[in-house]
């Protein structure tokens, strides 16, 4: 609409209704003056008041109440309000409504509130179909990531995220976006969904692929750069996983989930997914400059425990390809063997004894040849390839070769 400007006289009339509010009430006024002080001091040039039809004037009432029209239109509306009762009533109502606008303050919702609220509910009425305890890390981590995604703006979905991991003892970097990371989580969670008979996000009949291959396949199958629209399918899938496992009964914990090159029982697989969810949520939070806490101590402990259980096999694999020192002892399956004592400090911490010479051996405090002390979060970052083995080791003591091999094996657990 182009307002007709035919030089109407623009006689200033006193509006019956005070002018609209100038600005959002929760924006800081950098001049340090109150709006009351500011208003009258502004030298206002007498605007050209356009002549507008009643229909146009009425349509301008919302914009007028929000101070979102031109000076001329504002004057025209205010002149009109002195002579049109219905418009004056509506103007008053809309101006009062503007005072009700208020900035969302959802950012402050405490992520720990969820478990407290749910616990309280379940104390009042026990669930007939509970969520198995081993699923709660996945439930908690997906909920925390979802709350973060809820708070970020549309444009932040395209913020660059640099993914890091280790391949053949060398750090690998790959550029992605926030939405791309959600696509990655969606595609790899889909592997677990497939094992449970749920729909595969890559489509029915997708061949067995590794997590990285699944991710690449998902990314290359997208018609345009992914955005916020990925949140819902990712979240629906994680909800469906939790629900399906809740209904499936006890035996499902041992169901085998195949990742092409390796396999995990479902209970470990969902723990691994919780771990990935946290670290990628942390990547995302970092990319959009939001704070993000580590998981609660009990869940962190479970994640560390899983990594320590995977380490002996990772060591053996590296030994076969000449990346780790040869075994020093022959250990009978199930017998205690040479071990590395991992002491994890802080929330989720504890003591683990990692068998060095064979995945079949049992870690043994009496045969510890080396000790490494680390913070729990730092250990997880090492396992996820976010920090290097050289950076990670804080306190070390004992057999240096064993320490180097274990830390390198920990980093080798990382992948896209």
């Amino acid at each position: 609409m182009t307002p007709a400007d035919d030089g109407a006289d623009g006689v200033a009339r006193v509006p019956r209704i005070p002018g609209p509010r100038r600005s959002a009430d929760d924006h800081a006024d950098l001049t340090g003056r109150t709006p009351e002080e500011r208003e009258p001091e502004e030298p206002v040039e007498e605007p050209d008041v356009p002549v507008l039809s009643h229909g146009v004037l009425k349509s301008l009432l919302g914009a007028w109440a929000l101070s979102a029209c031109s000076a001329g239109e504002t004057a025209a509306v205010e002149a009109h309000l002195t002579e049109c009762g219905p418009c004056a009533d509506e103007a008053l109502r809309l101006r009062d409504a503007v005072a009700l606008l208020h900035r969302d303050r959802d950012l402050d919702l405490d992520p720990l509130l969820r478990s407290r609220v749910l616990e309280n509910c379940l104390g009042r009425r026990p669930a007939r179909i509970p969520i198995p305890g081993w699923v709660t890390p996945y439930d908690a981590e997906t909920a925390r990531l979802d709350a973060l995604l809820r708070d970020i703006g549309e444009s932040e979905w395209h913020a660059p995220v640099r993914l890091k991991w280790y391949e053949e003892d060398r750090p690998v970097r790959r550029k992605a976006t926030v939405a791309g990371v959600i696509g990655h989580l969606f595609a790899v969670d889909g592997l677990v969904a497939g094992a449970l008979g749920l729909d595969d996000p890559l489509g029915a009949g997708t061949p067995e692929l590794s997590p990285s291959e699944r991710t690449e396949a998902f990314w290359s199958g997208l018609e345009r750069p992914p955005g916020r629209a990925l949140r819902e399918p990712w979240r629906d899938q994680s909800h469906a996983l939790i629900r399906t496992v809740s209904f499936a009964g006890r035996g499902v914990a041992d169901l085998t989930v195949t990742y092409k090159d390796f396999a995990l029982p479902l209970r470990d697989s969902l723990l691994e997914r919780a771990f990935e969810c946290w670290l990628h949520a942390d990547d995302i939070a970092h990319a959009v400059a939001y704070p993000y806490d580590p998981p609660c101590g009990a869940h962190l402990h479970e994640m560390i425990d899983l990594a320590t259980r995977l380490l002996p096999a990772a060591l053996a694999g590296r030994r076969r390809s000449g990346l780790a020192a040869p075994a020093r002892q022959l250990v009978a399956a199930g017998a205690p063997g040479r071990s590395l004592h991992l002491e994890v400090e802080g929330a989720g911490g504890g003591h683990w004894y990692i068998a060095l010479d064979s995945p079949a051996a049992v870690g043994d405090p009496d045969q510890a040849v080396a000790q490494v002390a680390m913070e729990g979060v730092e250990f997880c970052q090492l396992v996820a390839g976010r920090v290097s083995p050289e950076e990670a080791a804080a306190g070390q003591d004992g057999d240096r070769e064993a320490i180097r091999d274990v830390l390198a094996a920990a980093a080798s657990l990382s992948r896209l």
């Binding site: 509910c121 009425r125 007939r128 509970p130 439930d139």
Partner: protein, 193 residues
């Protein structure tokens, strides 16, 4: 996965809660916790009190899923009404206690305070439930201080349409003074929490 339309989602959720599915409770929380917490905070202006209301509202729903009647509107509006009722109840209690202790205040002042808090909470609810195009226009004009021509350009609509959206958005918002929570936002337009 087929996308559930709101009434279908509401009915299914009610059935799953009645069945005692803990996973459904988690999903309910994920969908409505920020609504409940922000409305309670708007009435009580206190984080700990809003946490407590959140606990009470979800506890009530989990124990009484059958109290929801889909014919009375959508679940979101029901959850908002429960929250409002609980928060206002708590506000009255807190004010009555303060009055008993200090003797400051009057019944009229309390009623005025309750009314202001209720209107503010309803307004927040209306903003989060109004059709997304209207909310986007208000967001630009109020929070980003764009005039309606810039708003039109940002949204890729005509200036006529921008004026219409701003006016309609404020008209909806102004009903906070008169109407209770209503669950009548058109399907597909409501904000995904």
């Amino acid at each position: 996965m087929a996308k559930d339309t709101p009434p279908r989602w509401d009915r299914r959720m009610q059935q799953r809660l009645a069945r005692g599915e803990a996973a459904a409770l988690g999903e309910l929380y994920d969908r409505f916790a920020s609504l409940v917490h922000s409305l309670a905070h708007r009435v009580l202006d206190d984080d700990a009190a809003a946490d407590q209301i959140t606990r009470e509202v979800f506890g009530y729903i989990w124990e009484n899923p059958d109290a929801y009647d889909p014919r009375q509107g959508n679940m979101r509006a029901w959850v908002a009404r429960l929250t409002q009722r609980q928060a206002v109840h708590r506000l009255r209690l807190a004010e009555a206690t303060a009055y008993a202790e200090t003797g400051v205040g009057s019944a009229e002042e309390l009623e005025q305070k309750v009314r202001r808090a209720s209107v503010a909470a309803r307004a927040d609810y209306i903003v989060t439930s109004m059709p997304a195009p209207l909310r986007a226009a208000l967001e630009l004009a109020y929070f980003q201080r764009r005039d309606y021509r810039q708003t039109a350009a940002d949204l890729g609509v005509t200036e006529d349409e921008a004026r219409r959206r701003l006016r309609l958005g404020l008209q909806l918002l102004s009903t906070a003074h008169t109407r209770p929570f209503e669950g009548t936002s058109p399907p597909g337009h409501g904000r995904t929490p």
